[in-house]
């Protein structure tokens, strides 16, 4: 093995205002071969301390401060954990369905935003297109109807969140044991008015992702791809369920590692490894160990782990998705986009079913139960499985909090994707545009949230530095 002194280091680093950013370091040897690729994410870990001593009922509101991108996921995961703390995890029909509407509204808007704003330029213009064109403005100019659809779908989902959770920045909808409001008939009719349009647009977005993936499968199959385990929650009958279910993990070829694991026992099955070079932990399946027990989460994992989808249009699409790999799990990184759009359609169908359910106008909002003092809430956030775990003392104060966020679950896979792309596309000791583009595309497939805790992280230009073994910069590029 070459010593550090004989290696060159390529650093891809975003310019950001304050912490919470990530960077990519690619370590080369003297021959220009990739020895190692690491994606560093400076994750803010102070939240667990911040929440200690706070009353448990404040937590579902407080946790929204963790992430400006997916506050609803944290809101619902914390509420689910607090349901268990107060012994009221069996919600009233109105409580559960209002939360589900909130969650599917969020998934709908998040998947639409990611696809139209970040991914569609890569698919419509190609990975090597001029970055000045390969962005949402380029889409707006060449495919204006698509860009408008993306904005209006995002807006629709955001309006659902507002109607179920309250104000965007002070959402209080989910409370321990239930919800604090129902959906009025006026609100229901407001959403029904545009629902058919949302379904139609979801189908067309899915068609873009599917057709692109199928047509380019030969080149996409090896792109940043590798075999992996997959993990998600699934319903008791094996159906995809983004809001509630038990844990299931499968191997790359589909064999179950564990199934129907009670959320409260996640600690017996999943652990986190700390590595000295990264603030972000590396979760793994305990029975396999850290070296081979890492797994993927998110849309691709969910399509692989579930037995079926309980909405007809999305189920038909799932079956077509699985045909590509003869019913085996799909391990193609770029298939995340196709899987994400199947979930987009599924979310629209779920919203449709919920809006026609009179339970949303019910008035029994909060369930009661027997105090337990400890609870785990797990939800399938848009980016993947999200774990919240709390202990609360007899004075109602939180004394322990542990969170495993979706992007952390995908930590090792993202590192592997970057390494694979770097190995396949590095060109000597120069930082080429092609390499940069492909590193971006590989990371984007996972839709990572690198910006927990502050909006200022939203801008993600890349600074790329090529350094020699002595730390001298021999090449540097800024992108975005």
């Amino acid at each position: 093995m070459a010593s550090t002194n004989s290696l060159h280091r390529v650093v891809i680093e975003p310019v950001t205002r304050i912490e919470g950013h990530g960077k990519v370091t690619i370590l080369l040897d003297d021959q220009g071969h990739v020895k190692q690729a690491r994606m560093h994410v400076v994750e803010f870990r102070g939240f667990e301390r911040f929440v200690q001593g706070r009353p448990y009922w404040e937590v579902p509101v407080l946790v929204q401060r963790l992430c400006g991108i997916c506050p609803v996921s944290h809101h619902l995961a914390a509420a689910k954990a607090m349901d268990v703390v107060v012994g009221a995890e069996k919600l009233t029909p109105t409580g559960e369905k209002m939360r589900r509407l909130m969650h599917y509204g969020q998934t709908f808007q998040s998947h639409a935003l990611h696809f139209f704003h970040l991914v569609s330029p890569d698919l419509l213009f190609g990975f090597d297109a001029d970055p000045a064109i390969r962005n949402v403005i380029g889409v707006a100019l060449k495919f204006p109807e698509l860009a408008v659809q993306g904005v209006m779908m995002r807006k629709y989902g955001q309006e659902i969140i507002k109607a179920t959770a309250g104000k965007k920045i002070h959402g209080t909808g989910a409370v321990p044991g239930g919800i604090n409001k129902n959906l009025s008939l006026a609100e229901r009719d407001f959403f029904l008015k545009d629902l058919d349009q949302m379904l139609t647009w979801s189908k067309s977005a899915l068609a873009i992702a599917k057709n692109y993936t199928v047509e380019h499968l030969k080149e996409l199959a090896p792109f940043g791809s590798f075999d992996s385990n997959h993990l998600s929650i699934v319903r008791a009958d094996g159906a995809m369920d983004l809001y509630n279910g038990n844990l299931r993990a499968i191997e790359a070829q589909g064999k179950k590692i564990f199934d129907q694991v009670d959320n409260q026992k996640y600690n017996d099955y999943v652990a986190e490894e700390v590595r000295p070079w990264s603030y972000m932990k590396f979760p793994f399946i305990k029975s396999i160990g850290p070296e081979n027990g890492w797994y993927r989460v998110g849309p691709l994992a969910r399509l692989n782990t579930c037995d079926f989808i309980d909405t007809p249009l999305a189920e038909k699409e799932r079956q077509e998705f699985m045909k590509v790999t003869d019913g085996k799990p799909n391990n193609v990184t770029m298939a995340y986009h196709w899987a994400r759009m199947i979930e987009l359609l599924h979310s629209a169908e779920k919203i449709q079913a919920l809006l026609h359910d009179p339970d949303l106008q019910g008035t029994d909002l909060v369930a009661q139960g027997k105090w337990r003092g400890e609870g785990v809430g797990i939800i399938e956030a848009p980016r993947g499985t999200l774990f919240h775990h709390y202990q609360v003392n007899n004075q109602n104060q939180v004394v322990m909090a542990n969170l495993i966020v979706s992007t952390t679950n995908n930590n090792e896979p993202m590192n592997r994707a970057v390494q694979k792309v770097a190995q396949d596309h590095i060109d000597g000791q120069k930082i080429t545009e092609g390499l940069l583009n492909r590193v971006e595309v590989a990371i984007r497939a996972y839709d990572p949230c690198l910006s927990c805790a502050t909006h200022a992280m939203g801008q993600m230009p890349l600074v790329v530095e090529l350094m020699d073994a002595q730390g001298n910069i021999i090449d540097r590029k800024i992108k975005g």
């Binding site: 401060r65 400006g68 991108i69 970040l118 403005i137 502050t454 909006h455 939203g458 992108k479």
Partner: protein, 170 residues
């Protein structure tokens, strides 16, 4: 008629991250003033759907925390500017204006009120004392601005007085 002007104020930032919450704090305070013709919104960050809301207004005022700008605040006119984004899900105020123009053929006037903040790096739901003072000054300015609607006049004044930060990339 002055009242026919449709105004939108968007305060953005994370109230759980100390002074990063200056934008939403201003929005919350302005909302209580119930200024005619004004719609107030607050969010953690700006995203693409804000372009649809901007397109429905004649004037939009973005309020944000500023980690480096002048005290107590800066005020400047924004020109639509297209951006390239690597990842994540937020966009700049000038990019929101550009999206509103490109997607909805809107030509809303945009202004940025940057309120100076100091402490961003820890979870805290309160503003620092100095940031709270700056917020009070910004609120007085914003109320006068939104009632008198003299946006371009005030932007020219702040530009001429050198009170605005000089930056590249914004």
């Amino acid at each position: 008629m002055a009242d026919a002007i449709r105004m939108l104020l968007i305060g953005f930032g994370n109230p759980g991250r100390g002074d990063d919450g200056l934008g939403p704090a201003l929005a919350e305070a302005v909302e209580k003033l119930k200024i005619p013709g004004l719609t107030v919104d607050a969010d953690y960050q700006l995203t693409v759907e804000d372009a649809a809301a901007v397109a429905e207004c004649d004037v939009v005022l973005f309020a944000d925390a500023d980690a480096q700008g002048p005290e107590p605040f800066s005020f400047q006119v924004l020109e639509p500017k297209r951006e390239e984004s690597f990842s994540s899900h937020s966009i700049r105020p000038d990019a929101v204006l550009a999206l509103a123009e490109d997607l909805f053929n809107a030509h809303s006037s945009g202004y940025l009120l940057g309120i100076r903040g100091y402490e961003f790096d820890e979870f805290r739901e309160t503003l620092s004392a100095k940031a709270a003072d700056n917020l009070a000054a910004a609120l007085r300015f914003a109320e006068s601005l939104l009632r008198r609607r003299n946006f371009s006049e005030m932007a020219a004044h702040y530009k001429a007085s050198g009170l605005n930060p000089v930056r590249t990339g914004m």
